[in-house]
Subunit: 409 residues, 2 copies
């Protein structure tokens, strides 16, 4: 019998208990022993839960129990979760989590503690929910230099953008609908401002860089709050979708890692991900492109990845080798986003003349868009010129009223 | 230094040596030691290859060398590859392969030998080329009952079908083009008759069943040779693509496992896989749907998966736990395909009356297709009725000239 504890009995924590119960025979057959939830640590009571009798508010019942060798952290956030994770790892208990905030913020330290105490800190579920991505990236693509990762990694924003595209609703309306359906929080900032995506791409980038830590708070990040119904009109006419992309581009002297809305051709495989679905495309220098697609969130889907991690930990107890250990790199990991080149759609009032545009961006190829909304002028600034964020900004200063600028993937 | 040998220096074998050379620094950093190809066993000489001096025709130089702990089998087929794999495993050398024929035919025996000699037989590259699928299925989805796998797993047939759909070419023309481009063999039978797909779905099904062996030769298999330009017309009008699908459907009393062309809605995520690309959708009872997409073949892509396996083997030498061991199940693993229910498009000459159809399939719901080619009658037989292959066959006997029957996914 293998005993585990769950810290935090919210949606995912509860899902973990459910998945273990639902598939207990299969899990036992696979592990050669039963997997049981021995304790659930939470400050709330859950009288209606079939697991009510396991709930405790005393953390010592988890940390001091030598039978519990694996701890699931589904508290979320980086405060209590951080303290408890440190405490668990410090007494040699492997911690499995879906907490992208904690992993992306304190991963270096937590993996070091795990290493020093011959246990593991593992987090397949922190990116892509139930979609296998971290282990495939680290293990199956081990023989590749990872050249690029482009992902739709936030289901909430993808749902909102899909609603805007399909129903013509504006951002606020689509957000309200997402909230009504439980896809968005009351305070939606972490999703719509791109913070969640930022954390996820920071985790994937660090893994792609064999552990050289990418700090999420350092990443250039644009959310979706400025996307309008007009932008959606352009997307439609360009046979594209607007997607919030989290991007990692590996370069010889540092990588570009950022989050921003992009126009993505409907012909591109990533465009397959609509509604709350996620899709992550990984490019390896030997493999070429591979894409991972599925439900990026949801109780049982995310829990399925957590329980997969628990089983891996149970099968390989005290083998400290799930992923390359993270470290603070001495050389800069990130390239300044100002140097990043990408085509953009630039929407301007039609009072602007071609001449003005040419003068504003003298070194950038500039072509008309296939579509221009009434009263507007739309141009596509090429990436082959000397386009960079700084110059674009300078160029944009020459215009009184830029309607929007959207990157083109 | 970790030394390996490559058996068979064809496309994939050569790719393996290239990937190891191309990414040697990254691989060394990851493994903590250099990975080197010490010997290449082949009956040919390769005077122009940078690896020419490693080539030998003497198998003892591989099998008797204690330094070589991992052997790559890229010979293909199930004769010499079989003998050499047995020999390597019998002296405790882990064997890594992309050989789906050998894995699907002799996997049970070879894994047993590996187990008895404390080494491994691993084959991530045998399905999906470079796309991670076997490890994610076994490891990341460990907490799931795998309910279904539906895959486009053969790039050659997918290329041919894509050409037929996009250019209106007939099967023979598209096949010739595939051959000219090197996507199809001179003898294309293994691809176009579905044998390759049959082997791959047998491997995936066995893994999904935790090792209960699925014999590929027992699988109901239809290739793509009977797909016509007329069928493509129907697909287009139905907003669908014709795809050769390899299917695993897990049931309580056995599973349906088969290969056949299907009409797949263009709205379905699987439809994203065109040309030589593969896509495999896996449904877990906790996870829901997840899809893996990428290049299913190709020298470096496939080699990248082989080298990933080599690295995994090098890091976990003598841990015999890559996948659950395969075994011959005492209870039947496969359900008779005659019991399988699925909607089909039935194309008949327009001389057939509605009345005749109704009499032929009295218990099956039957509705007209959105499109009928000139001189034809097209109906969709529903899956909710008592449709099964046998009845369908009986029904079909009532008609002189069935133009085609295609499953609808």
């Amino acid at each position: 019998m293998k005993s585990i504890a769950i810290l935090g009995f919210g949606v995912v924590g509860c899902g973990v208990a459910e998945v273990i119960e639902m598939n207990k025979e299969r899990i036992a057959k696979r592990l050669g022993e039963e997997l049981r939830v021995k304790k659930i640590l939470d400050i709330h009571e859950f009288p209606d839960s079939p697991f009510a009798n396991l709930v405790t508010t005393e953390k010592e019942e988890v940390f001091d129990d030598p039978e519990i060798s694996i701890v699931v952290e589904t508290i979320g956030g980086a405060r209590i979760a951080y303290e408890y994770t440190k405490q668990a790892l410090s007494v040699g208990k492997t911690v499995v989590t879906s907490n992208k905030e904690l992993v992306s913020t304190h991963g270096v330290e937590l993996m070091k503690i795990a290493h020093d105490h011959n246990c593991n800190y593992i987090f397949e579920a922190s990116v892509g929910g139930g979609i296998p991505i971290i282990r495939p990236l680290h293990r199956c693509l081990a023989a590749n230099k990872i050249e690029r990762i482009v992902g739709i990694v936030n289901g909430t924003t993808n749902y909102i953008l899909t609603q805007m595209a399909e129903n013509g609703s504006d951002f606020e309306t689509a957000l309200k609908e997402a909230q009504a359906k439980g896809y968005a929080e009351n305070n939606p900032s972490a999703d719509v401002d791109g913070i969640d995506a930022q954390r996820k791409i920071a985790i994937l980038s660090t893994i792609a860089l064999d552990g050289a830590y990418v700090d999420p708070t350092k990443l250039f990040t644009v959310g979706i709050t400025s996307i309008t119904t007009k932008d959606m009109e352009y997307a439609k006419e360009m046979n594209a979708s607007i997607k919030l992309l989290a991007v990692f581009e590996n370069g010889d002297e540092g990588s570009f890692v950022y989050v921003a809305p992009h126009l993505v051709s409907k012909e591109h495989p990533l465009a397959v991900a609509n509604d709350v679905f996620n899709a992550i495309m990984v490019t390896g220098n030997a493999l070429g492109d591979a894409m991972f697609y599925g439900q990026g969130a949801g109780k049982l889907a995310t829990a399925s990845a957590v329980v997969g991690d628990i089983m891996d930990a149970a099968e390989h107890q005290s083998r400290n080798a799930h992923i390359a250990e993270w470290y603070e790199s001495e050389t800069p990991v990130l390239k300044p986003i100002e140097e990043h080149r990408i085509s953009v759609l630039l929407r301007l009032p039609d009072s602007v003349s071609d001449d003005q545009i040419e003068k504003a961006f003298p070194e950038i190829s500039c072509q008309p868009c296939v579509y221009e909304a009434e009263g507007e002028k739309a141009v596509i600034l090429g990436k082959d010129g000397d386009l960079n964020e700084a110059k674009l900004a300078i160029g944009l200063e020459n215009f009184e009223n830029v309607l929007n600028v959207i990157r083109i993937f």
